[in-house]
């Protein structure tokens, strides 16, 4: 697999080089970051003045900040002047048939149960017009618009709905929030925008049908989701298929606003390239995700399955402002080989009777390092707030690590806060027991790991849950026996 990966990477690099030489070069900025870069990005995107002003403030603030060092991860220094901050989407070479695709990649698709047509789309093989998901996407978009649901790219939203963007952009994650959020605010290229009007229940999982189109996402993405009073939406980010990208640093920002009695479910399956077996290459995924329950009885639920990236640094959080609002965080994070993950959540209780649930499952294999870092804060005004936290770690082998860093700040004596943590190991005994009942070692590991993750998987939309189970199997392949 090692050789196959490096060969594939070599092949990809080669192809990307070809890409640069052709039409694209003219539409890319030179590497480096300055006020001019920020202005150029805003200009190329034809943004209104408020956007440029905001980006510039973010950039100037970023200059005063330093990269955070508190996370339990290690990586060489990033040279921010070496990054290309804007280039038009790269055109991948079109292949004639799946025979031209790397067999190792096809084997993974097969194991994940991805249909042939999707395999073709993912590997950029030309497909019949009937299966062209762009036309499918357009049909769904029309249906959504008829209900008043806005679901479009961030760039489109800036042009078509500037007042909504101006009202909410940065209202949950301000550019002053942290180093990577400031960088994102200054240079983000695109992302998604969702608005669900009052009383509307979005009739479909957003982005399941669009995941193929969404595959070519940028290095600095920005997503903004607004659920108005009594609205409901379930949003899916990512894809179980392996994602490769020549950009090493990814710093995305996601902001969610839930107004009175609105519910937002945000599910992520992240499978960015984790680097090879020796820890070479791989994506740095430094993400800021935060939702605010602004209204009464609002609910925001994060579910994430993180199997990819060399380094993951993300804490999807909920600010519980409205009385009786609810925040949830369900997470499975897998680290294999030399992957590192420092992930968790923050639940900030401000309103009365607010409640939050945190279920975190960390799986470490190989030399993987997995840290849970979570904050539960009960503010003085948050009477009768409740939190339940359960944090479980599963170790495979004896060279990996699991770490738990819970922070609990309670400033109201009526609060109820529970924290449970366990660490267990997939033992030779469990494996042998399953094998003695007729299961292969691989099926046995899948069974044990999926049992461990069950409380999280049941929060995922059905078809995603099935894929996530298979993905876990692929991610942990070869880690036992």
């Amino acid at each position: 697999m090692n050789t196959a990966n490096s060969e594939l990477t070599a092949l990809l690099n080669q192809n990307y080089q070809h890409g640069f030489v052709s039409a694209i070069e003219a539409d890319a900025l030179p590497p480096g970051l300055s006020e001019d870069t920020v202005r150029a990005i805003s200009f190329k995107k034809n943004e209104p003045a408020f956007m440029l002003a905001w980006r510039l403030k973010a950039y100037r603030h970023w200059l005063t900040m330093t990269e955070p060092v508190w996370a339990h991860v290690a990586y060489p220094p990033i040279d921010y002047q070496h990054i290309v901050y804007y280039s038009a989407p790269k055109v991948k070479p079109t292949l004639n048939s799946l025979d031209e695709v790397d067999p190792e990649l096809l084997r993974v698709y097969e194991k994940l149960g991805i249909s042939l047509n999707e395999q073709k789309k993912l590997s950029n093989v030309a497909v019949d017009a009937v299966f062209d998901s762009i036309s499918v996407a357009t049909t769904f978009k029309d249906k959504l618009l008829s209900m008043g649901v806005i679901f479009c790219s961030f760039s489109e939203a800036v042009q078509k709905y500037p007042e909504l963007v101006q009202q909410y952009l940065g209202s949950i994650v301000p550019y002053t929030d942290n180093f990577f959020a400031a960088l994102n605010a200054a240079v983000f290229s695109d992302g998604s925008f969702v608005y669900i009007p009052k009383g509307v229940r979005c009739p479909m999982e957003l982005s399941t049908y669009f995941r193929i189109n969404a595959a070519s996402t940028g290095q600095f993405e920005r997503t903004l989701i607004i659920a108005d009073d009594d609205a409901y939406v379930s949003y899916l980010e990512g894809c179980t298929a392996p994602m490769r990208d020549e950009n090493q640093l990814h710093a995305a920002v996601v902001e969610i606003i839930a107004l009175d009695r609105a519910t937002v479910k945000y599910s992520t399956v992240q499978n960015w390239y984790p680097g090879d077996k020796d820890g070479k290459g791989g994506i740095y995924n430094f993400v800021t995700k935060r939702g605010a329950c602004r209204g009464v009885k609002a609910k925001i639920s994060w579910t994430q399955v993180e199997t990819g990236s060399a380094i993951t640094w993300k804490y999807p959080s909920v600010v519980l402002q409205g009385d009786d609002s609810v925040g949830e965080f369900y997470s499975v994070a897998v680290t294999n080989n030399y992957q590192q993950a420092d992930t968790g959540t923050k639940m900030i209780h401000i309103g009365k009777n607010t409640s939050s649930t945190i279920i975190s499952k960390g799986i470490s294999a190989g030399f993987g390092q997995n840290a849970y870092r979570g904050l539960v804060r009960i503010n003085p005004g948050a009477t009768h707030a409740r939190n339940y936290t359960q944090c479980d770690s599963l170790l495979m082998g004896d060279r990996c690590g699991a770490h738990t860093f819970p922070y609990i700040e309670v400033k109201n004596s009526t609060a109820q806060v529970e924290h449970e943590a366990t660490t267990s190991k997939i033992g030779a005994d469990q494996l042998f027991f399953c094998q003695q009942r007729g299961l292969s070692a691989e099926d046995a590991v899948n069974l044990i790991v999926n049992g461990f993750c069950r409380e999280v998987f049941r929060e995922l939309p059905m078809e995603f849950a099935v894929e996530a189970q298979k993905l876990l199997g692929v991610s942990l392949e070869g880690s036992v026996g």
Binding site: Q430, F432, F433, Q436, G438, L439, A441, D443, I448
Partner: protein
Amino acid sequence: MLTIKDLHAAVDNKAILQGLNLTIHPGEVHAIMGPNGSGKSTLGNVLAGRDGYDISGTVTYQHQDLLSLAPEVRAQAGLFLAFQYPIEIPGVSNIYLLKAALNAKRKAQGLPEVDAMDFLNSVKEKIKAVDLDQDFLYRSVNEGFSGGEKKRNELLQMLILEPSMIILDETDSGLDIDALKVVADGVNSLRSPERSFMVITHYQRLLDYIVPDFVHVLANGKIVASGGKELALKLEAQGYGWLDNA
């Protein structure tokens, strides 16, 4: 059914089995008795394919070279080891494991997956026979089960999988007399001319309930005495000491 010839097994250069010979025909129940450290559990583990042992000798199971097969292939071929200490698997429901195990066996036999309703009906019938409540089907495998419940759960797996060669490893350990009777009744209900048993035990007590055709005494990694069920009674009365002089 099972023919063991000159079986040696060692862990970290420490010899445990040292030239063991045994033949078990279809329908026979063989008891293996012996003092602690004589290699009883190692015998069960080696036959079931647990790794970590250096092995020599031959074992033929249903005309196949057993030692060359992966543990799951041995299980699919009908070799069943009832564990002395059954393992817990959090988050995996008992019924899910039972179904996965049965389907693995059916797949190896070229049969389609079991029909969900048929399976459920059959499991509900069999769980009554082992005197466990139906709730146990939906609880995580062995998690929070008492010692007796774990052993009855092993018996349930046995009843579902209908193996041909069953090895019971110290199944009586940790069982009170009532639980022992339930397990023994279950095992006896499985006795048939096509099915064989190897009952590994330290005490004669279990053999009052599962009456063996043959009793073998294992000491220092070898079978040092064989006989009928009366041999077990002699061991009970005189202990293992007399064997040193035999």
